[in-house]
Chain length 459, copies 2
């Protein structure tokens, strides 16, 4: 690429659309958009384009289609699988300027947010009107509406309110053709053609650039109760999580922990052991409702089998103490050296076997490794953290993903496939499914300019 060649011509044309100030080419600034926050995925880009609205996004996509220039849509750049950074020299299409949030529709319990609005901003807007947005996650201050749609983020309240797909009533988006499709009316019953919004959720920016979304809100709970339970057998803890999910409509969280993880947390944080003796497994549960769920929770706990210890907390400071055992897991494990992190889902009836098997499977390829497990067990999601190996040691992925697939699980619970997991997607998806995905991709992005190097293996 030389001066006057195709790239400068493209940049000039982009500047005509978004203004020169919004075509960023300063290498120092571009670098921040070209690498993910973990530093594991690092690419290069000729430019970062920052359109102001849907019309500018459409013009940018149309231009890039004409020039056959690939784009990587990017929100808060908090992804974990290299799906939002220009690993193959793509132009970065930053949606952060589309950060507007409309008023809360009080009757419908909905709001419309731009793709660049952060989850924290959406949550604040909902809360100011007495509602709550059903998705929350640790990266809330940076993660955006568009990014969480691209990955179909689950987050902390998935068990109660469902994934991002369950919140998105409609979207406005620019297809790979440059066409704008907009369906933001927020109607809950509306069978007038194919449902594009759920298709775009989890499509990792490969089908369309979502520019705005109509989001369902949920009533804010007024009462919360937390309980920490101890079990002497892991299967009993898993069974208890499923029993509570069935018994309690108000269940918001059910987090599995194991003896080693709780022991490490006590050691590193100085917290006292939650119960006098050690136990094989722990379950942290939280119920939240518009009425006091303490009695319902108590009744449900009384019906559980195998509970070897129980602590219930209503008062906020004590609730935080109990949550601390769970929330200190990541920092405590990180303290042993950057762990190799995997995010997988198992069928309900395979979780206990997986928990028992995975340390051995890891040890087979990395005898020096140590495996730490915890997670949102009631929705089948478990975090596998491996210490004592390099964070990008693919032997670990390979061994764990094959075990997951054998047990009927998913190699991507909520992080997506991105660049990181393309080579293992065939473990979860048949050739016929991949062909169908590619056909849909060609239908909406016929020239293959939207995030062409993620998700789908080269077919």
């Amino acid at each position: 690429v030389t001066a006057g060649g195709p790239v400068p011509a493209l940049l000039t044309a982009l500047a005509d659309i978004v203004g020169p100030a919004n075509v960023v080419t300063d290498p120092d600034v571009v670098a921040a958009y070209a690498a993910d926050w973990t530093g594991r995925f690092r690419g290069t880009a000729a430019a970062v384009v920052r359109p102001a609205d849907t019309a500018e996004v459409a013009a940018v996509v149309s231009l890039c289609r004409t020039r056959r220039a690939a784009l990587v849509p990017q929100g808060g750049n908090t992804g974990l699988v290299g799906g939002g950074v220009p690993l193959h020299g793509e132009v970065v299409l930053s949606l952060r300027r589309l950060a507007g949030i409309g008023p809360v529709d009080e009757a419908a319990g909905q709001l419309t947010a731009g793709a660049g609005a952060t989850i924290a901003a959406v949550r604040a807007a909902a809360e100011a009107a007495g509602w709550e947005y059903g998705v929350d996650l640790g990266s809330r201050d940076s993660a955006t509406v568009g990014g969480t749609i691209g990955t179909n983020a689950g987050g902390l309240h998935m068990l109660r309110h469902g994934d991002t797909r369950a919140q998105v009533v409609g979207v406005e988006a620019v297809l790979g053709t440059g066409a704008v499709v907009s369906h933001l009316g927020g109607l809950l019953k509306d069978n007038t053609g194919y449902a594009l919004a759920p298709l775009f959720c989890g499509s990792e920016g490969t089908l369309a650039v979502v520019t705005a979304a109509r989001l369902r809100l949920v009533p804010r709970p007024t009462h919360r109760v937390v309980a920490l339970l101890a079990f002497d057998e892991v299967p009993a803890a898993i069974g208890a999580a499923h029993a509570l999910r069935r018994a309690l409509g108000s269940l918001e969280a059910a987090e599995l922990m194991l003896a080693a993880g709780v022991g490490l947390v006590c050691e590193t944080t100085g917290a006292p052991p939650p119960f006098p003796g050690p136990h094989a497994a722990y379950l942290l549960v939280e119920a939240a409702a518009g009425h006091d769920p303490t009695e319902e929770l108590g009744d449900a706990l009384a019906r559980l089998a195998g509970v070897a210890g129980e602590a219930v907390a209503v008062e906020p400071a004590r609730r935080r103490e109990l949550w601390n055992y769970r929330e200190s897991h990541p920092p405590s494990v990180n303290g042993l050296g950057a762990p190799h992190k995997l995010d997988v889902t198992l069928p309900a009836d395979a979780m206990a076997a997986f928990v028992a098997e995975v340390p051995g499977v890891v040890a087979e390829v990395a005898p020096e490794a140590r495996t730490w497990l915890w997670g949102h067990v009631a929705d089948g999601n478990i975090h596998v953290n491996v210490t004592g190996v390099e964070p990008d040691d693919e032997r670990i992925d390979d061994a764990v993903f094959h075990l997951v697939a054998r047990r009927g699980g998913s190699i991507s619970a909520e992080h997506g496939i991105g660049a990181a997991k393309r080579r293992w997607l065939h473990l979860n998806r048949s050739a016929a499914e991949l062909d169908a995905f590619r056909a849909i991709k060609r239908a909406l992005d016929p020239d293959g300019i939207l995030n062409p190097h993620v998700l789908l293996p080269t077919g």
Copy 2:
């Protein structure tokens, strides 16, 4: 078409796949598949093909693709928009033999059902295991899993549990290419490619023939409370429905009725007026939960504005008496002569205006007509019944659909577009959206053999 011509050759080849007994050509038998149950939509078919399993469906679709023979997938044939009958001489592909229902997965709260299983059978299987299927509808004994997926049926519990799309965790389906895609593992967190199941929900058999579905179940409520409320202003009743939806997680139904409809019901059924004086509007609400919701409901009712009369029922016989005012609306109105029925959705903040305007809009094109309104107002769905006109008088559709579109509503709440509403789809969907739909259709059904005459206007 003559003996030995293309149709007999096709029938012979179909018989090779499904067996001669399952290629039905007897005109008397075919006629039952070729007309809908209302008799409004009546076509002809050379044959009805009844495959036994997914492999036979795939072979039938592949064969028909080779022969360029169009297929109409059909379940219980309870549709209301002519979307499941051969209006253009298509071969009828009946899925009724795929009626198997697998065991309830107790930990996950799910089951797998064949496309031909009736909703009643799925509900019975769930109930036998102590669970409930979140979709129910009046046609439950005939309507099938496949048919309700094709139309994305809402039904009686939509307010609480969402539409059919919200229940379908995964599907097995045969694409228009003949390829089988299957993803029935039931994982709730599973971001491994494009979400086909929600795309197929509401696609009216135009993209794929769904052969089986993995369905989410919900816990069975143990307590129910019903309340009938009277209001002297329609907007107050609508506002109350939205306030209750926000206040009560246990709300299962919120049905709006008007003075004229309740008066007609009392006249035709002999039921006493629900309250001493007449009132402009009534709201029937039901709360159901795993705990007793009476107190929560009472608290929420106490906070409503404009309530002019209130009756609360816990005891089953009294609950039925209150429900009778709502459930007697269709038969009472039907007694005035077959009504013209429309099923539309309005935005929450436009419902009151629509209710006020629609009788006048109908009277403009049909001064002799009378308009009756009732519906699931909390999810924006209202039934418009017009008596005193021919049931298929399209002047009514035209006038009401234009009003709906002006108010930001949907011309199809849950019945779908089918053959009946194709000419009005442009009121809800832009040219860009229709182009995107057609591109997706071509991607998954490249030869256009799956239900080619429904949903999408000829482009």
